[in-house]
Symmetry: C2
Subunit: 244 residues, 2 copies
């Protein structure tokens, strides 16, 4: 097979956060596959075919990329952030698993700046100690599992980053998540809402869990919940490196 | 104060994984502060003073950077990977907290490709579902807390990434960590050892917890432990997006 696939992370939005490795893959590509707003970040050029697709068709998109590569194309599958964090890399391997010849495909995963780390950088260093990353959507797992993980993560004293905290289709679950966290981590725990980080729409807010309202998050928000040690210094929020 | 501080992530080693944002900060800097091997990655030039320092002096280094900025210097504090993940950003805020005028400092945190995401990309997508990041060193927290977190993380079904898994000064703890994980997550769970990713010394290995030996890790290794759903496809390791 002469074609290849690179699953590339475009970072959170700012072009200065795209790596040269990703730029080089895009420059060598014949085809770009991805969710509409991510494909829109790739500059059109002669010899490059853009294949934008809708949300929630990750497996179709992955199979499309595999088919194009099998036909000799050089395909970049674009994700925002990092492709390995709640993004297209896993979907590609799920599709690959259904093929008779997975070893025949030339695949590279190209890391990017994931949303929680871009958000953490803007806020200070809230993920400066042990932390976890949880996708709050129950599209692909039972909501009970989300609740279980939230409780155990709080009991472990992790800081937490939440992807997909809230959408129009499931407006009530994030309210429930905040309730659980108030119970397990305490009302004074700091929680930060980082929306559209590194884009012109960026907004940041930090409150306590007692003050947090579900409406503070939407699908473009990464929510970062501190550990009991997370605190403010000046306009910053950070988690110290040590635990007594 | 006319000086500033940028705490910048240089990524895991490959220059193609350094962001333009970080390069621009280095180009504008008068001073670079950091651990010796990271400062060595910055090209010397006229007008740029390099201040390499030894390991385990993070607070001294942070205070040095604050003093330089207070004196009008434009300072880049370099970390490998991402500065907000077990690196210099938290140390800088710890130092800032001891100053009478934290708000007077012009500080930016510039994200980078952190080791676990570079490692995950090389391996496939082992962190493609909910996961946690744990610093296995007990230099700054009690070992009992590490054990507690390992058990809860396994019970939550997180994939896990371990930083600083093993050093000459504490050779036995990683063996104990593997023991706990075999108990809690089961002997068939996949564990990957990703050493010096994106450098000429890179090596990758994936085994089961039953097969894992403490000697497979050193201080340059990121260890990634899968969830019960993590599996192989071809030469890849990945965690599917969904949990039944």
């Amino acid at each position: 097979m002469s074609g290849w696939i690179a699953v590339a992370g475009l970072g959170p939005g700012d072009e200065r956060l795209v790596t040269d490795e990703v730029r080089a893959a895009l420059a060598a590509a014949t085809d770009v596959v991805g969710y509409i707003p991510y494909v829109a970040r790739v500059a059109p050029r002669e010899g490059l075919t853009l294949h934008p697709s809708d949300n929630r068709v990750e497996l179709d998109r992955a199979n499309h990329a595999l088919d194009l590569a099998a036909g000799g194309k050089r395909v970049v599958v674009v994700s925002s952030g990092d492709p390995g964090v709640f993004a297209m890399a896993s979907a590609l391997f799920e599709a690959l698993e259904t093929r008779p010849d997975p070893a025949a495909f030339d695949i590279r995963i190209l890391p990017g700046i994931t949303a929680m780390l871009a958000a953490a950088a803007r806020l200070g260093a809230p993920l400066g100690h042990d932390f976890c990353a949880i996708n709050l959507s129950d599209n692909l797992k039972p909501w009970e599992l989300v609740e279980h993980r939230l409780r155990l993560a709080a009991q472990a004293g992790f800081a937490m980053a939440f992807y997909n905290p809230r959408s129009k289709g499931r407006p009530h679950q994030f309210a429930r998540a905040l309730e659980i966290l108030r119970e397990e981590a305490g009302p004074d725990t700091l929680v930060s809402f980082a929306r559209a980080v590194s884009t012109p729409d960026e907004s940041l807010a930090t409150v306590t869990l007692a003050e947090a309202l579900p409406e503070m998050a939407d699908m473009r928000t990464v929510v970062i919940v501190g550990s009991r040690d997370t605190r403010r210094v000046g306009r910053w929020v950070y988690t110290p490196r040590s635990v007594a």
